[in-house]
């Protein structure tokens, strides 16, 4: 399945958001996720099914003003 992660194209085998984080190697990293512009809390990643072409954002703490 082809999806976009942080605007980069990926070909993945998993169907869920939780599976995607595992497959891409995020492991236990502290990140927040959004799919197609909507926030998906960590507690719902396991049940969140990804569609072909889904746009996923994976964000982490960063310097800010």
């Amino acid at each position: 399945m082809k999806i976009l992660v942080n605007e980069e194209a990926h070909e993945v085998s998993t169907r869920t958001l939780a599976g995607l984080l595992d497959e891409l190697g995020y492991g236990d990293a502290r990140v927040a996720t959004a799919v197609d512009g909507d926030f998906v809390p960590a507690s719902r990643r396991g049940g969140h099914m990804l569609a072909e072409g889904a746009r996923i954002e994976i964000l982490a703490p960063m310097q800010g003003g």
Partner: protein, 256 residues
């Protein structure tokens, strides 16, 4: 002064962006004795994990964090970013930025008020980055904000307090609302001036991060904020147009 029921250890809030290195950032936070540090969210790559290292450094500093929604231009972007920040940083505090104009990074007050209302209903404690607009301020309070953060000047400009009249009017209109000058402060004297006006805190980033010696500048800001605060409490004199001799005239010798 309480910010959403929390007493901060200092009235200097410090941004964490643009420092020459993580070590210099840590030195600056310590020298500032910052009461809060602001943080943000950016895309994370699984390989680099830059965000994880940054977060562990911030946690070790032991200063409360205030995540922002920097870079958001719409209500939807800001609300979604706030939700992501709440989960990552485990705080319901959010410095809400909704930018309306890209040259000045001026807040879009209309979108800001709408986003503040939505986020307050979702349980957030909103610190709105705003212009010094009195009516907008009233609407933000009605939307549920218990803190207001007017700009001094455009972000990163270092111009200081551009509209003294407006900032003074805001202080006078809302004597009991915590007010923070956010953005535009370039020198410790600007920070002292904000505190002398009766502001409760200032938020500084570029002025410290871009100084030749950020830790020394952070210390200068700490002292300026303290000086301005003490001056405010000491009840400053009234300004006058004409000179008034400070040395008594009575008893002066007549020598001609």
């Amino acid at each position: 002064m309480l910010f959403y029921g929390t007493e901060l250890s200092s009235r200097l809030m410090l941004g964490t962006a643009q420092y020459p290195s993580p070590e210099i950032l840590a030195d600056a936070v310590r020298a500032a004795q910052a009461g809060v540090v602001t943080v943000s969210l950016r895309r994370e790559s699984a390989g680099l994990r830059a965000g994880q290292a940054f977060w562990s450094m911030i946690r070790d500093l032991g200063v409360p964090v205030l995540p922002n929604t920097a870079g958001c231009h719409t209500v939807k972007d800001a609300v979604t970013t706030a939700h992501m920040a709440r989960e990552v940083f485990e705080t319901d505090w959010i410095k809400l930025e909704v930018i309306g104009e890209s040259d000045t990074l001026q807040p879009d007050m209309f979108a800001l008020i709408e986003a503040a209302r939505i986020l307050t209903e979702d349980g957030f404690k909103v610190f709105p980055y705003m212009t010094e607009d009195l009516v907008g301020a009233e609407r933000l309070l009605q939307a549920g904000c218990e803190v207001l953060m007017p700009w001094g000047a455009p972000i990163g400009s270092g111009k200081g307090l551009n509209n003294l009249f407006g900032l003074r009017a805001l202080r006078a209109h809302f004597p009991d609302v915590p007010l923070v000058v956010d953005a535009g402060i370039g020198l410790p004297s600007h920070a002292a001036q904000a505190m002398e006006l009766g502001y409760d805190a200032v938020l500084i980033n570029t002025a410290v991060a871009r100084a030749g010696d950020p830790a020394a500048m952070a210390a200068a800001f700490r002292l300026a904020v303290e000086a301005g605060r003490i001056a405010r409490q000491a009840d400053p004199m009234e300004e006058r147009d004409m000179a008034v001799p400070s040395t008594p005239v009575l008893g002066r010798a007549v020598l001609a």
